[in-house]
Symmetry: C2
Subunit: 295 residues, 2 copies
């Protein structure tokens, strides 16, 4: 029996509608909408697409999107000055600097300068540290979105063995930190695997919940999945496909067709984890706005 | 065949001698010794003992220990003002506020105020975050000491499966963050277990390296350990013992006598992880001094 699909598109729409509804109540009280500053440096097409999506969602939910599109040759001081001015701008609740930056700019220096209270991406080390310590903070959007997918699909994380394949700083490591906490929607036994893991399949087969976040197309095969496991696919990989209009199509890190015959629930790619990221960004922006305005 | 003992006392002495040797070269160049401010609030006897040990070690290695013993009734502003003044004092390289504080004081507020560049305990969230992100930082002393024990005992962590039982903010979680990084003395597959873990023994038996940090006497039994595993015991528990002079003795979280018959290497309690903590504090203080003085 094929696995049930975890529908990220529908769940993310639900969250966006919740945010919109809350804002309809809050904005008249505060007297201004939340402001999200989105900084884009250079013309990387993928980044431009992401940023367009974020700005469009802001508009749909009643969040003011403050666009800063800088030239690829922007120097360090100009960018740092912009971040400083956004930190001080009372109408800005959230600040997002789209990654990747051009090579001459140091991303971690920029992130460290963002006011942690406006760090809606959850990338500032002080917020990452609070996450690991189990202190209330901004959780970065992809890990937060994965937890939300699990909770809203009725997947019990408490006591479950979550195996995460991949240890990136934006998915694997913060997701592990999030799910090992003593908290609702967490409280899992967590294992982090990676390129150095020996006998990977033996470990992934012990997972109640298996998260694939390595960035290799169809890396997780059916033999690596225990019957009845929940499978979350974070990968978005382009593979050539002559039959597709653009000459490629998107596949995840999971061999979807085979694994869905083994798993109990599975996220598709696209339409699984992907759409959750913007929804969680909107929720983090709402949280920043609430805290800053005391509502 | 009984396991080899991992001798924390000897290893910690070696590290302390290394620190002392480095300081003998550095201090004449800099013109002043490193300064470690140790703040003790109230008269908790265990804390007083720890603090005495730290100050004694400072004296032995050529580190100036700056003692601030405050009354248990010290108010919040007095303590915060002290931390602010230590942050600004150029002769202070490291600041340590001994835990636990009296109940009317908020530890996390105090830790957040410490200059991260002087946070030799590695407790500031920005340092914890950098640890998870894999950025050079102060690693808190117990996790750093455990890594050092493994490395100096010739235990290969790369590709090993490390199972940590316990998810405290001072041992389990930062140790997991440390050992999962792509780095020498790390690069392990890491699992974090805790009170909610189902079938704990099945998971601990998969460990190449098993770390017990739950705070329950003799919790880890021989049946939970795979033959040939390396066992690190972080627990220090008092158990009643009428035959002992003080009426109690110290035991770890591991059933030592039985587990040593199964493991390949094991840390004793006392004399294993315990002595490493002060040694790593001294090394962190040396690092802070080096960075601050540019030597």
């Amino acid at each position: 029996m094929a696995a049930t699909l975890i529908d990220g598109k529908t769940i993310s729409n639900t969250i966006k509608q919740e945010v919109k509804g809350e804002l309809e109540t809050l904005v008249p009280k505060v007297g201004r909408p939340p402001g999200l500053a989105v900084v884009l440096v250079g013309g990387d097409p993928a980044s431009a697409t992401y940023v367009r999506g974020k700005r469009k969602t802001c508009a749909a939910l009643g969040v003011t999107s403050i666009a800063h599109d800088l030239d690829a040759s922007t120097d360090r001081e100009t960018l740092l000055d912009l971040v400083r001015s956004l930190n001080e701008d009372d109408a800005v609740d959230g600040i997002l600097v789209q990654s990747p930056l051009p090579a001459h700019l140091d991303e971690s220096e920029v992130v460290l300068l963002i006011d942690p209270a406006k760090d809606v991406d959850g990338f500032h080390p002080v917020n990452v540290g609070k996450l690991l310590l189990g202190v209330e903070t901004f959780v970065s959007c992809t890990p937060a979105g994965i937890r939300e997918l699990l909770v809203r699909s009725g997947v019990e994380t408490r006591g479950a063995h979550v195996v995460i394949v991949g240890r990136s700083s934006i998915v694997g490591k913060p997701l592990a930190a999030l799910l090992m906490q003593k908290a609702d929607g967490a409280d899992a036994t967590v294992t982090v695997c990676h390129s150095r893991t020996r006998d990977l399949a033996a470990i992934t087969r012990t997972a109640d919940i298996l998260v694939a976040a390595i960035g290799r197309p169809r890396f997780v095969t059916a033999e690596m999945v225990r019957a009845g496991a929940v499978v979350i696919d974070v990968g978005i990989n382009r593979v050539e496909d002559a039959a597709a209009k653009r000459g490629y199509r998107l596949v995840g890190d999971v061999d979807f067709d085979a694994v869905r015959e083994v798993a109990s629930k599975i996220t598709p790619v696209p339409g699984g984890v992907g759409p959750m990221t913007i929804a969680m960004l909107m929720r983090n922006t709402l949280t920043a706005y609430r805290r800053r305005c005391g509502v």
